[in-house]
C-alpha cells in the first residue's frame, strides 16, 4: 500500500506540529507535510491533523481565532466530503469552535494546566481512528492542557452516548471510569469524540507523544495504525466494487 499523506496544519502558536509530523512521518513511516494556515487549499492529502499548541496564544478563547484562518474553509470542505480529520488537544478545541464537533472544552476544574500520563478506555473500537484497538481496551497516553474539561448540553451528550460517538473516556489503569481518573472535570470522563459521520475525531490526549519506543510508550501508535488500517479497508472495498 502506498504511503498515506498526512497534512499537518500549522497555525501561529501551534507547538505540537513538529511532534505530529515526527510521529506520522518518521515513526509511522508515512508521508507527512506541513500546511500553512494562510494557505487556502489542503492540497493532495489523505488525513488532516490539527495539532496541539496554543493557536493565536489561546487569546480570546482556545481555538476561537484559529477557526477563522483561511485554511479552515478547506478543512470544513474536506471533512464534509468524508475526509479523515484528527484534532489533538488544541486541535480538538479548534474543531469544536469550527462546528465540526459538538460541545466545548472548558477550563480544567482544578483551574490549573495539567501534564501527565492518563489512561483511556476505548469506548468505540469501530471507528476509523480506533479500528486497531481492542474494544474496551485501555491506552496510556499523555495529556497536557489547561482547557480540557469537555462540556455539552444534555441533549447533545445523550446523542453522543446513544450513537457511540464517545470514543475515549479517562479511566483507571484497570479500565474503570472513576472520578479519580478524571484529570480535568470532563462530563462523563469524555476524552475524545467523533462526529456523526465518524470521520472527524477530537481528543485532548496526545497520541503523537506516545509513539516513539525510546520514550517508553507506544500506545499512541494504535491511533495512527487504525487510521492507516482504515485506508487499507477502503482500498479493498474500492477494489471489490
Amino acid at each position: 500500500m502506498p504511503k498515506l499523506k498526512f497534512g499537518i496544519i500549522v497555525f501561529p502558536g501551534s507547538n505540537c506540529d513538529h511532534d505530529a509530523h515526527y510521529a506520522a512521518g518518521t515513526i509511522m513511516g508515512q508521508d507527512a507535510r506541513f500546511i500553512w494556515h494562510k494557505d487556502s487549499s489542503l492540497g493532495d492529502v489523505d488525513v488532516v491533523i490539527i495539532p496541539g499548541g496554543f493557536s493565536y496564544g489561546d487569546y480570546l478563547r482556545c481555538g476561537a481565532i484559529a477557526r477563522f484562518s483561511p485554511i479552515m474553509k478547506d478543512v470544513v470542505r474536506f471533512a464534509g466530503m468524508g475526509g479523515t480529520v484528527l484534532g489533538i488537544c488544541n486541535g480538538f478545541q479548534i474543531l469544536t469552535e469550527a462546528g465540526l464537533l459538538p460541545g466545548t472544552l472548558l477550563r480544567n476544574a482544578s483551574l490549573k494546566f495539567v501534564c501527565k500520563d492518563v489512561f483511556l478506555k476505548v469506548e468505540n473500537s469501530d471507528t476509523r481512528f480506533t479500528g486497531a484497538c481492542k474494544a474496551g481496551g485501555v491506552l496510556r497516553i499523555p495529556i497536557a492542557h489547561g482547557d480540557g474539561n469537555y462540556f455539552a448540553d444534555a441533549e447533545t451528550r445523550a446523542r453522543l452516548e446513544e450513537n457511540g460517538h464517545i470514543v475515549f473516556r479517562y479511566c483507571s489503569p484497570g479500565g474503570e471510569i472513576t472520578a479519580e481518573a478524571n484529570p480535568n472535570g470532563s462530563q462523563g470522563n469524555i476524552a475524545g469524540i467523533v462526529n456523526e459521520a465518524g470521520n472527524v475525531l477530537g481528543m485532548m490526549p496526545h497520541p503523537e507523544r506516545a509513539c516513539d519506543p525510546i520514550l517508553g510508550n507506544t500506545d499512541g501508535q494504535r491511533i495512527f495504525k487504525s487510521v492507516m488500517g482504515s485506508f487499507v479497508i477502503q482500498e479493498v472495498v474500492h477494489n471489490l466494487s
Partner: protein, 761 residues
C-alpha cells in the same frame, strides 16, 4: 521638535545622575568620556549599562578567575548570548541560566514568565532551537501565606509561558528556607540544539548593513528594569511594579519560528535579544563586539504608546524583541520572513565605522556615545570590593553534632523527612508544566537529572540544576564546590558525562564586605570543582542585592549542568527494578549532619559545617558509575543528597511503584551513630542496585578505581523498607508522606480527580 506634545527633558546634573543609581565617581567618568554633560537620553543609557545587572561591575573581576575555555566549549563565556558546547554529529548545545528574582518578588506571575521568555531568547538568537527549560526556585517558609502566593504564581507564570511557547519544562529544583521570604529566587535555564554551520552571532559587522528591530512593538514597560534589579528589595519595591515587563509567549513563539527561519537564509549577519536595557544594551554590545558603530533612527520603531521619548524608547524593556543586522540588499528577504509570521520588522539604521552609537529622534541627535565605553569588559566600571569573613560563621561552626540527643524512632524521622517540602514530591509543581512537548523527554520529572534525546542521533543530553545554599552559607567555598559536584553526579546517575556548566550567582549586596567575601569564596569553589571535573563555565548570570530589610539571602550559586549520553538506550534511572538485587553504596558515608535537612527538623536551624568534599574522589566515583552504567552492570542509580541514605533508599522504592522494598543489614553502621549514618548528607555517594551475579565484579572494579564501596543489603518484594534493628516502614506509607509534602499546604495537584464532578449534568 516635530512631535505634537513637547517632551520636556530634565536638566542633567550630578543630582539626576545619583537618582539614576550612578555614583559621583561614575558621573565624573561619563563627563570625561564624552567631554561634555550627557544628554538626558545619554544619562539613561549610561545608568542602565553601568548598572550592576548589565555591567557586572562588582563581579566581573572575580568571574574572570573561572575556567572559561577547554573541553567541548565552542565559544568563550560571555562572548555570545549563551554558552555553546559541542556534542558531536555536527551539533552543538546552547544553554544558559538567568535570574528574574526582583521582578518575581513584586509581580511573581509576570516576573517568572518573562524570566523564561528572556532566557529562551538568549538561546534561539544563537540559531538554536530550544529543547528544554529548567527552573531553580527558592521561597521562604511554605506555611507563610505570602510565600504561598509567590510560589503559586511563579509556578503558574513559568507554566503559562513555557507551555504556550512549546518548550518542555523538564526539571529543576524548589527549596523553602526562611531567608528567601521577601526575596525569592527565580532562576530559569534554557537549552537548545543548533547545527554547527547555523550558529548566529551577536555581533554587528559590515559598514552599511541595515539594522532592524523585529518582534513586538516597544512600550513603556520595564523602563529601568535593569536598575531595579540592581538594588535591594524593600518596602519601596512595590512601587517598582511598573518596572516589571509583561510577557507574551505567543509573540515569542512567532519570534522563535521567524528567527530560526531568517537565520537559515544566511542573510542575518548578527542578532541579539533585547533583554535588560533593551535597545541600548543590544546596540551597544553588538557594536562593541564588532568594533563598529551604528546610526539608529527611533522614529521608525513600532511603539505601543503615544509620544514616547528617545529616553523611553532606548530604555524600554518590552519583551519579545530582537535587534538584527542583515546583509545589505538582502534585508527584504529577512523582513518577508518576519511578515509571514505577522511580526513587524523595520529597518531603523545602519552599521557605520567607528565606535559611536548615534541615536536620532524627531530629526534631532539625542545621544551619541562610544559603544565600548558602555559595555562590560571595556569602558564599564570594574570594582573589587572590600571583603571580610562573616561574623556568623563562628557561631554556626561551634555547633557540636554530638550534643544532639539520639532519636528513639528512626522510622518516624524518615517519614517526617519525606514529608518536608524540600524533600517530598514536587508533583504539585511539575504537573503544571508541559514536560513532554517536542517528544524528546526520555526521563523527566523526579529523576536526578532530566534526559532529552537528540532527534536524528543516538544521543541524549542530561540536564540538572543544583545548589544546596545551606552548605554555601556554612562554607561558601566548599558549598559551591558541592553544588558543582552534585550537579555533575546527578547527570552521571542518568549515564551522562558532564560537559559544561552555566551558573546563576544569587547573592546579597556586594557593598557589604561579608557578602562580597561569600561571593569571592563561592566563585573560587566553582572554579576548583570545574577544573577537577573537567566542566568549563560557559557563562551565566550574577544577581546581587538579594536582600530584604533584615538580611541577605543565603549565598546561592545555582549550577546548571549539561551532560552527554552517547547512547540514549543506556539511560539510567532511580527506581529499584526487581526484588533480589544487591544494593550497593558507592562512596563512603561519614555521617555528616552539618546543614542537613535532618538537623533542621531537630533544631530548626542551619548549623555546623558543610559536608567534606574530595574532588578527586568525586571524579573517581562519577567515572566508576559511568563505567557501570555503560557496561550494563547496574539496574538503578540514585545520588545521595538531602535526607541522606535513608531518604535515598526510600526514593528508590517509592519510584519503583510496584511494591519493591529494601532490606539493609545492621552491619552497615559499623559503629556509627545510626541517625548520622541514615540521615547525614556526606558527599560523593551513589546508591546503585545490581543482579547478585555481578556484585563481585563491581566490587573488583571499585577496588581498581580506588573507590570505596559498601554492600548495603538487597531489594525485596515485601513492600517494606527494613533497616535491621532500626526501622521497618511500609513503602506505601512512605509514598503517602512523600506525595503529600506539598499538597498538604498548597492544595491538591492539578489533576486530582476530586474536582471531577463540578459540572457533570
Amino acid at each position: 521638535m516635530k512631535s505634537s506634545i513637547e517632551i520636556v527633558e530634565p536638566a542633567v546634573n550630578l543630582q539626576l545622575a545619583l537618582e539614576h543609581g550612578l555614583t559621583e565617581e561614575e558621573y565624573e567618568k561619563i563627563l570625561d568620556i564624552l567631554g561634555r554633560v550627557p544628554t538626558y537620553t545619554e544619562l539613561g543609557i549610561y545608568s542602565v549599562m553601568w548598572s550592576e545587572h548589565c555591567s557586572y561591575k562588582n563581579s566581573i573581576a572575580v568571574l574572570k578567575t573561572l575556567p572559561r575555555i577547554g573541553g567541548k566549549l565552542l565559544v568563550e563565556a560571555g562572548e555570545e548570548n549563551a554558552g555553546l558546547v559541542d556534542i558531536g554529529d555536527n551539533l552543538a548545545v546552547a544553554f544558559k541560566i538567568e535570574s528574574h528574582n526582583h521582578p518575581s518578588a513584586v509581580e511573581p506571575y509576570q516576573g517568572a514568565a518573562t524570566g523564561v521568555g528572556g532566557i529562551m531568547r538568549d538561546v534561539f538568537t544563537m540559531g538554536a532551537r530550544p529543547v528544554a527549560c529548567l527552573n531553580s526556585l527558592r521561597f521562604g517558609d511554605i506555611s507563610d501565606a505570602r510565600v504561598q502566593y509567590l510560589f503559586k504564581n511563579v509556578v503558574r507564570g513559568i507554566g503559562d509561558y513555557g507551555n504556550s511557547f512549546g518548550v518542555p519544562t523538564v526539571g529543576g529544583e524548589v527549596y523553602f528556607e526562611r531567608c528567601y521570604r521577601d526575596n525569592p529566587l527565580v532562576n530559569a535555564m534554557a537549552v537548545g540544539v543548533v547545527k554547527h554551520g547555523e550558529v548566529a552571532r551577536a555581533v554587528a559587522a559590515g559598514v552599511g548593513n541595515p539594522v532592524l528591530i523585529v518582534g513586538s512593538a516597544t512600550g513603556r514597560d520595564g523602563i529601568h528594569g535593569a536598575t531595579f534589579a540592581s538594588e535591594e528589595i524593600s518596602n519601596r519595591s512595590e512601587a517598582k511594579r511598573p518596572s516589571v515587563q509583561v510577557g507574551d509567549p505567543f509573540t515569542e513563539k512567532l519570534l522563535l519560528e521567524a528567527t530560526l527561519e531568517a537565520i537559515k537564509t544566511g542573510y542575518v549577519v548578527g542578532i541579539q535579544d533585547m533583554g535588560a536595557a533593551g535597545l541600548t544594551c543590544s546596540s551597544a554590545e553588538m557594536s562593541a563586539r564588532g568594533t563598529v558603530g551604528m546610526d539608529l533612527h527611533l522614529d521608525g520603531i513600532p511603539i505601543r504608546e503615544l509620544e514616547m521619548s528617545s529616553y523611553e524608547i532606548m530604555l524600554s524593556e518590552s519583551q519579545e524583541r530582537m535587534l538584527v543586522i542583515a546583509q545589505h540588499e538582502h534585508e527584504q528577504k529577512v523582513i518577508n520572513i518576519f511578515k509571514k509570521w505577522d511580526l513587524p520588522a523595520v529597518v531603523i539604521g545602519h552599521v557605520k565605522d567607528g565606535p559611536l552609537v548615534s541615536v536620532y529622534h524627531n530629526g534631532e541627535l539625542k545621544a551619541e556615545v562610544p559603544a565600548p565605553s558602555l559595555v562590560l569588559g571595556e569602558g564599564a566600571p570594574v570594582y573589587i570590593r572590600e571583603e571580610r569573613e562573616p561574623q556568623y560563621l563562628k557561631r554556626i561552626r561551634s555547633f557540636n553534632p554530638g550534643s544532639l540527643s539520639a532519636p528513639k524512632n528512626y522510622g518516624k524521622i524518615l517519614r517526617e523527612l519525606l514529608s518536608r517540602p524540600n524533600i517530598g514530591s514536587k508533583r504539585w509543581v511539575y504537573e503544571q508544566y508541559d514536560s513532554m512537548v517536542r517528544t524528546n523527554s526520555v526521563s523527566v520529572a523526579g529523576g536526578d537529572a532530566a534526559v532529552i534525546r537528540i532527534k536524528g542521533t543516538r544521543k541524549a543530553i542530561s540536564l540538572s540544576t543544583d545548589c544546596n545554599s545551606r552548605y554555601v552559607y556554612l562554607n561558601p567555598r566548599r558549598g559551591a564546590q558541592i553544588a558543582v559536584a552534585e550537579s555533575a553526579r546527578n547527570v552521571v546517575c542518568t549515564g551522562a558525562s558532564p560537559v559544561g556548566i552555566t551558573n546563576c550567582l544569587n547573592f546579597g549586596n556586594p557593598y557589604d564586605p561579608e557578602v562580597y567575601w561569600q561571593f569571592r569564596e563561592a566563585v573560587a569553589g566553582i572554579g576548583d570543582a570545574c577544573r577537577v571535573l573537567g566542566t568549563p563555565v560557559t557563562g551565566g548570570n550574577v544577581s546581587f542585592y538579594n536582600e530584604s530589610p533584615e538580611h541577605a539571602v543565603f549565598p546561592t550559586p545555582v549550577i546548571g549542568m549539561v551532560g552527554l549520553i552517547e547512547d540514549a538506550q543506556l539511560v539510567m534511572t532511580i527506581p529499584f527494578k526487581r526484588s533480589g538485587d544487591v544494593i550497593i553504596l558507592i562512596g563512603i558515608n561519614k555521617g555528616e549532619i552539618g546543614g542537613s535537612e535532618y538537623l533542621m527538623t531537630r533544631v530548626g536551624d542551619v548549623l555546623g559545617d558543610a559536608p567534606e568534599l574530595d574532588l578527586v574522589r568525586e571524579k573517581a566515583v562519577d567515572d566508576l558509575c559511568l563505567q557501570l552504567i555503560r557496561q550494563g552492570l547496574i539496574a538503578s542509580a540514585h545520588d545521595v543528597s538531602e535526607g541522606g541514605i535513608g531518604v535515598c533508599l526510600a526514593e528508590c522504592c517509592i519510584s519503583a511503584e510496584n511494591g519493591t522494598g529494601a532490606y539493609i543489614n545492621e552491619s552497615v553502621f559499623s559503629g556509627m551513630r545510626k541517625d548520622f549514618w541514615l540521615f547525614g548528607e556526606s558527599q560523593s555517594m551513589v546508591v546503585v542496585s545490581c543482579r547478585k551475579s555481578v556484585a563481585a565484579r563491581i566490587e573488583e572494579m571499585a577496588g581498581r578505581a580506588n573507590v570505596p564501596l559498601q554492600i548495603l543489603g538487597r531489594t525485596t518484594d515485601d513492600g517494606l523498607i527494613t533497616i535491621e534493628g532500626s526501622l521497618r516502614e511500609s513503602v506505601d506509607e512512605l509514598t503517602n508522606a512523600y506525595e503529600k509534602a506539598m499538597t498538604a499546604v498548597m492544595g491538591e495537584s492539578a489533576s486530582s480527580g476530586l474536582f471531577s464532578s463540578t459540572n457533570t449534568t
